[in-house]
Symmetry: D2
Subunit: 303 residues, 4 copies
C-alpha cells in the first residue's frame, strides 16, 4: 500500500471514532470548536506533501509554537538558554507551578508553560513585543516558505483575558528573578505567539527544518535540530511524553488547539490536527493517527 493510500484509509478510519476526546474549554475562542475533525499532512524529504482530511483548514497551533520559539532563541543565544531553563521532563501537568517552587524558579524544560514563558522573555531582550512576534512569525513563514501565516488576534485576546494561570507563572518567575521583562509584556507576547494559525499543510512544511529534511530551508544548524528533537521526545507531550514515546516512537509537540507536529528525523515532518483532547491535554485522535502512521511507515526512531 502506498503512503498516500494509507493516509486516505487512516482518515476514513479515524472518522468512525466513537470518542474524540474533549475540546479545551479554558480558552473561550477555542471552546466552540467541534471535536470531531481531523486532518493530516506529511512533508517528505523530496519536497512532496501528502495529505488527507481537513489538511488545509487553519487551527490555532498554541503550544506547538514553543518549538519555533525555542528554535529562534537557540539561534540567538544558543547554550546560554540552559542557565534559565532545564532539559528534564517535569512529571507534572503543563501548567504546574509546583516544581517551579521546588526548583527555585528554573522551569524544568522549555515545553511546559513556565519554560516557554522564559523563552519568550529571553526573545524580548532588546526588542519590543511587536518585533519579537515578527521574529517568531518570520521564522515560521520562512520555514514553511509561505507568507500566508497569521496570528489570530481574537484567540490571543481571548486567552489574555482568562489566562490567570500563565500570569501567575510569570509573576512567580519574576519573584525568583527569572523574568526580565514586565509580566504583562511577556504574557501579552506569549499569548500572541500561541495564537498563530496554521493548516496541517503549513505546519508540516514548517516542521521540515525541525526534521532536517533535504528540502528544508537552511534555518537551523543540525546540532540544534537534533537537540530540539531530543526535547520533543522527552518533554513534548507534557506528562504524557513517556506514553507517546512508547506508543509512537517519534519526537512530537502537541498544542491544546488539537495540533500535533511529529518528526521523523531526516525522513518526514508530519502535522496532524484533531481538536478533541485526551486526559493529558494532547490530541486524542492525533495521537492514535501518529501511532498508526509509525506502525505503517516504520519511522519509529527506535528501530
Amino acid at each position: 500500500m502506498t503512503l498516500e493510500r494509507f493516509l486516505q484509509d487512516l482518515d476514513r478510519d479515524i472518522r468512525k471514532a466513537a470518542d474524540w476526546g474533549k475540546v479545551a474549554d479554558y480558552i473561550p475562542e477555542l471552546a466552540g470548536v467541534a471535536p470531531d475533525q481531523f486532518g493530516i499532512a506529511v512533508a517528505l524529504a523530496d519536497g512532496q506533501v501528502l495529505t488527507a482530511g481537513q489538511a488545509d483548514r487553519g487551527f490555532s497551533i498554541q503550544s506547538v509554537s514553543k518549538v519555533f520559539a525555542l528554535a529562534c532563541v537557540l539561534g540567538r543565544i544558543g547554550e546560554q538558554l540552559w542557565l534559565r531553563v532545564g532539559r528534564e521532563p517535569s512529571g507534572d501537568r503543563f501548567d504546574s507551578i509546583l516544581l517551579l517552587e521546588q526548583e527555585k524558579g528554573r522551569p524544568r524544560n522549555p515545553f511546559i508553560n513556565a519554560g516557554a514563558i522564559v523563552v519568550t522573555d529571553q526573545l524580548l531582550t532588546g526588542r519590543s513585543p511587536q518585533q519579537t512576534l515578527a521574529e517568531i512569525l518570520g521564522f515560521v513563514r520562512a520555514a514553511a516558505e509561505d507568507d500566508d501565516i497569521h496570528i489570530d488576534k481574537a484567540v490571543a485576546r481571548s486567552e489574555a483575558r482568562t489566562g490567570y494561570r500563565n500570569a501567575a507563572l510569570a509573576h512567580y518567575l519574576r519573584s525568583f528573578g527569572n523574568l526580565r521583562n514586565p509580566p504583562d509584556h511577556v504574557i501579552g507576547t506569549y499569548v500572541h505567539q500561541c495564537a498563530i494559525e496554521m493548516s496541517c499543510i503549513q505546519l508540516a512544511r514548517a516542521g521540515r527544518v525541525i526534521a532536517g529534511l533535504d528540502c528544508a530551508p537552511p534555518l537551523l544548524a543540525p546540532v540544534k535540530q537534533r537537540r530540539i528533537n531530543a526535547l520533543m521526545m522527552t518533554c513534548g507531550q507534557y506528562d504524557g511524553s513517556g506514553n507517546f514515546a512508547f506508543r509512537v516512537g517519534m519526537p512530537a509537540k502537541s498544542g491544546v488547539g488539537g495540533g500535533l507536529l511529529v518528526i521523523a528525523p531526516g525522513k518526514a515532518s508530519i502535522a496532524i490536527w484533531s481538536p478533541g483532547l485526551d486526559g493529558w491535554g494532547n490530541s486524542q485522535m492525533g495521537t492514535l493517527a501518529a501511532e498508526r502512521l509509525a506502525e505503517f511507515t516504520g519511522w519509529s526512531v527506535f528501530g
Copy 2:
C-alpha cells in the same frame, strides 16, 4: 578515522580527565572501587565487537539489569505489566518515594527502583526466587551468547544488609496492594538481579537483542524491542534522562556500578564502564564517552 581508532583515542582522552565523579558509597562492596577506570565495547550489526580500555574487566551491572528484567516480564505477560507500572519519566530521584504516594502505589516507570521492584515481583509470580534469578540470568546469558556470566553474591549480600530504602519501597508498594510476594523475598531477588557481574564485552553482546541487531539471537519481538528503547530514552537515566537525550540522543540505561548500556537501534549495542558517578547517579565519564561516540558516529536517533 575508523571507529576502532576513535575508540582508542577516546580511551586515551578519558584517562586524562581531572574529575571522574564519585563512586556510589551506599553499597559497601562497591564503595571501594577506584573511580578512575574506563572501558568500552561496541557490538556491531555484523557481529564484530570493538573495544578499548578495560573492556573485559567485570563490574556490577546494578540498574542496567532492569532492562533485562523488563525484557523477561514483557515476554511473559506483555501489556498487562502496565496495569501495575507507568511509562512516564519521574522528574525525581531514582529511589524517591514521593511520587509513589501521590500516585497511590503505581510507580511512574519500570526503571526507577519502585518500578523495578514491581517488575521483579511480577517475575516471582509462580516461581521461587532461585527460579526467577535463573530466568533473568538465563536471558542475559542467551542474549550475550556467553554462559560465563554470574551473580556476585558478596555484592548482593552487601546491598541486602544496607538496602533500607529499597525495603521501605517494597513495604510501601505492598501497603497499596501492588506487591504480591513478601517484601523480603522480592528485595532478596532484586538485589541478586542487580548484582549480576559482566564485562563491557559481555554487556555489549547482551545488548544486541535490545538494539535489534541482525546478529542478535531472536529473543525479543521487534515491537517489544522498540518499546524498551522508548522507555530507556525517556526514563533510563533517572532525572538526568532529558539531559542525556539532549547530549547523546540514544536510548540508554545506567547503573550505580558505573555501567552504561547505550543503544543505536539497528546499528550497535554499546557498553561503557566508568565507576565515578555524576550528581544524578549516572557514570560521569561514561556519559561523556557516549556523547563523544554519538558525535563521531552520527548514531543519534534524532538525525
Copy 3:
C-alpha cells in the same frame, strides 16, 4: 445544669446520630467493631470521675498511646528528643511518607506515625522490647492508678501482619540513619504499645498527669506537661488539628480505635470513645462530643 446531667443528655443526643462515621478497616481486629458506640469519662481536679454511656468498656487506644510514650521519653532524655523529631504540624496524613523525604528523615512531630516510631526507637535504647513495653504500660498504670490495664495481643498481632506502611516508614527512617534499632524490633514494640486496651474511665484517669490536675500522681514535671499539651493542640489530630482547635479549643489526641483524650489544663482530663471515624481518621462523634462539652463548660483555653 450540672456537668453530670449534661453528660447524660449528651450521651442521649449522640445516640440519635444518623452518621457515626466509618470504623478503621486496615487493622483486621478493629474492623469488626460496631461504629455506633459511645462513652465518655471526665476526671476532675478533685479526684471525681463523671461518666456517661459505655465508659467502662475497653477499647484499643492506638495513637493515644503516643502521648504516654512521649511522656516516657521526655522523662528519660528530655530536650534531646528534638534532635530526631520536629514540633510542627505536618499538613499531611498520619502515615504520610512525603514530608519525611523532603525533611531528610526527621519526622515533623511525635504524633504522626513516623515521629511516634522514632520515639519508640529512642525508648528501645538500652532496653529490650519487653522492657520498653513494661515501661510504657507502667507509666499508664501509675498515671491511672490502676494496674488492670493490658495490651491486647490479638490486636497487636493483627496490626503487625498488615502494617506494611509502618514497616515502610521504619525502613525509610533507618535509611536516613534516624532509626537505631532493627525495623522489625521497633515496629513490633510500636504495635504492642498501640494495642493497649483501656476504658474511658481508665484513660481519663491516666490523662490527669497530662492535664496537671491536683489529684494526679506526680509523674510529669509541669514544663513537660505544658509542652505535651502544646503538641497535642497543634499536632494531635493529624491534618484535622487546626479544625479541632477551632471547634473545641482544647489539646487532644485521637486514635483510630475511636478513642480521644482531651485536656482542660488544670481543670479536667476527658476521655471519649466512639469508633466511627471522620475523613481525617478522628472519631466523628467523639469530636462532636468534645465540641459540645467545651461549649457547656467554657473549658476552651482560648477564653
Copy 4:
C-alpha cells in the same frame, strides 16, 4: 518581682543579645530598619498598659494585620468564609504556592499569604479598595481606641512594586475561581492593609478585643474571639507555629516588620517589636521575649 519590673529587666537583657536575626529584605522600605531594636507593651484586663523599651515607636505591622482583617470578615460573613479558606496549619512557608496547587486553590488557612489575600478579596465584595481599607483601619482604631493610626503609603508602594510573589498567588487563586476581584485591586488593597503603622502600645490596645479583655470595646463576639485565637495558635507563625506553641504556649501572630501580637485570653494583650527575624520569618528577639514573659507570668494556656 512585679510585671513592670520584669519588663524593664527583660528589655535590658534583650539589648545584650549578640544575634538579633535579619531584617526582611524583600520589601525595600523595610530593609533599611536596624535589627537591634526592641519594644514591648502589655495591656491588662483592668485597662493598664505596661511598657518597656521602644514601646511608642511606630512600625509596619504587616502580617499582624491579617488578624484584624479576619475579625472584620468574620463579623461580616461569619462561617461562610470557610468555604473559601481552610483552618489547618500549612506545614509550609508563608508564601508557598505548592499546597495551593494540591488543594485546588483553597488556601490552608487565613494567615498564610494566599489565605489572607482571599480574606481581603472577600472584604472587597461590594466595596471599593478605599472603603475596604477604611473598614479595616476603622476596626483597628476602634479596637485601640486611638484614631492616630495610619497607613504608611511609602511602605505600601514599596511592596506593590516588588510583590511579584503575592501577585502570582492572586492570579493563581483567580485561575481556580477563588478570587472575585481583579488581582491588581486585591493586591493593592492587601499591601495597604499590611502597611498599617502602629506602636507596641497601640497594637497591645488593639489586641484587647482579640484577648477578650474586660476593658476591651465590644467589637467581637466571644465565640469569634476564641476561634481567632485557635487559628493564631495553630497557624499564626507560619511553619514555626508548632515551635512557638511549644515554647510560649500562647496564641500569637507575627509580621515581617518584626511585630508580634501575643494573646493571654482574658488576661492580657501583648505587643512586641524587634525587627530582626529568625529562619521562619518571625521576630527572633520577639519570640524570646514572649517565651520569657510566659515563664514569668504563667500565662501559657497549657497550665
